[in-house]
Structures are given as structure tokens and as C-alpha cells.
Subunit: 162 residues, 2 copies
């Protein structure tokens, strides 16, 4: 069996984990639903983790759970990973603050074998990106209210059609 | 499969228009999708109008257009109403700023016979509500990142099950 390098698209069927930051930046919830929908369309089982407010925004946005059916509180998700009850092939972390970068660093530490993609956005993503000094793929784009450019970059990295 | 029991008899079939403010407040896009989904489940045809950024957030959040398939730029929508090409039985305006209240006043003027419900939210909704001195139903709740209390009030006004 040959081993496919982790960064090569298209991604194999597997488990994906989406980690969300605090809900201040409106593009985050929209792009989380977009990523989950695309990943599920490409054969991934998707789980999302975040604080209660961001999970509530996702639930209210997706009343029939068509795009993102499975979520948990971040602390519980981290606990499950530590206890080896949860694993993933791909971990996507949305980071628009220092806390988001810390979550990504935590995921890098806890999931050394997973593909880790950090989506760094908000008002000043370059400054934030400089803090992410651990091995990961980074998607960096200034985005607060308009998700279109960042969506384009995300689609490009994962090889999803526009 | 989950079936949502209706707590009240279904609303009559008709046209609903959802008018959105600028996209700064994260609960707005989630609750717009929620309202559209509920209205459609209760027999309404739903159209939403807003600025390009907020419409993009809705499109990215609902990639298969299952909850809110029909949108237009607010200026174009107003033009169509003025020209009697568009009408509605129910108009819901989301207002978290002076501009939102102005949109609601405009709708009151242009659609004198429609039921007008103004959802006033954000950090200081009471101050904003005092500006809405035209005949309308008002739903007022402090809500920026957490949509749950406001969703509960909206569900109560329209008789939707939680």
C-alpha cells in the first residue's frame, strides 16, 4: 500500500473535525456550514466543536440538520480526543483571535497524525497567522462580513468546485 | 426522522418578505434562516432582501438553498414594491441599527396592508425600539451572539413550535 501525503487533494473518505472560535465574526458560521456540507458531499463524517453560543448559531441556521448534524462543546470534544474516544483524519480550525490559534495548537498537539488546516480570518489575519508557529496548512484571508473570497481560497485548498 | 408537531393551526398560505440589516450581528443570519424555514413549513413563499454581504452570508450558510432559496438586493426589492411588481402579506424586518428601523418605516409606508413585524435586537434594542414610532408589531430582545432567547420570542409571536 502506498501512503498518500496528507496535504494532497482529493481527500480520502474519513472523519473530519471542525473547531470553531467565538462567534463574533459573521463569516465563521456561514463558512463552517459550507465546509461541513462540502466535506459530507466528499465522503467525510463531520463533527463540529465550539462554545455554546457558536453551536447555537449553527443549530438555528440549519434547523433540519442537513449540513452539520453533529456538534459538541469544545471542552468535551478535547476531553474525548485526550481519552482516545475521538479521532479525525482532517481537522479544520477557524481562528480569528489568539484563542483560535491556541485551539489549533492544541489540536496539533493532540492529533499529530491528522491533516490540520487552520483558517485564519477576521480583521488582521496576517498578525494572527504569525502566531501559528506549529506545522499546519494555513488559509489566510481578511474576512469579517463577506465570506466570498475566503470561501474561494478554502475551495481551492480542498479542490472543491465553486 | 423527526416530525415537528405544530402547536397552533398552520398560518394561511401567502407571501412573506424578510428584510435584513447589515451583517455585523451574528444572530441575524441564523434567525433569518430559521424564520424562512418556519414560514415555508407553514405555507408561505419567502423572499429575503438585504445588502450584498448579508445575502452572501445566507447563500454560503445554505449551500443547497433548502431554507431560503429566493433573495434580492434591497434596493431592487424596494423598487419592485414601488412599481407594484412585488407584494407580501407578511413583512419581517430585522433591525439592529437606525438603518434597520428606517427600512421598517419604509416597508410600513410602501406596504400599508401587510402585517409588519419588526425584530429589534443587538446590544441596545430598547433605545432602537423607541425610534420605531409607526404601526407595527415589535419583537425586542438583546441579542448579539446567542440567538436562543430571541428565537423563543419569535416562535411565540408566530405560534411556531420550539
Amino acid at each position: 500500500m502506498t501512503t498518500t501525503p496528507l496535504s494532497t487533494p482529493p481527500a480520502p473518505t474519513g472523519n473530519a473535525l471542525i473547531v470553531l472560535g467565538c462567534p463574533e465574526v459573521p463569516v465563521q458560521q456561514a463558512l463552517a456550514l459550507h465546509c461541513s456540507h462540502q466535506l459530507r458531499s466528499h465522503g467525510f463524517a463531520v463533527h463540529a466543536a465550539g462554545n455554546p453560543a457558536v453551536l447555537n448559531l449553527l443549530k438555528v441556521s440549519d434547523p433540519e440538520k442537513r449540513y452539520l448534524p453533529e456538534t459538541s462543546i469544545l471542552e468535551k470534544c478535547i476531553e474525548e480526543i485526550v481519552e482516545k474516544k475521538r479521532d479525525c483524519d482532517l481537522c479544520i480550525v477557524f481562528a480569528h483571535s489568539d484563542a483560535g490559534i491556541s485551539y489549533a495548537a492544541t489540536m496539533r498537539h493532540l492529533l499529530p497524525a491528522s491533516r490540520l488546516v487552520v483558517i485564519i480570518f477576521g480583521k488582521d489575519p496576517e498578525t494572527l497567522a504569525a502566531l501559528a508557529d506549529f506545522p499546519s496548512e494555513k488559509i489566510i484571508e481578511k474576512a469579517v462580513h463577506n465570506p466570498m473570497q475566503l470561501r474561494k481560497k478554502i475551495n481551492g485548498v480542498f479542490g472543491w468546485a465553486a
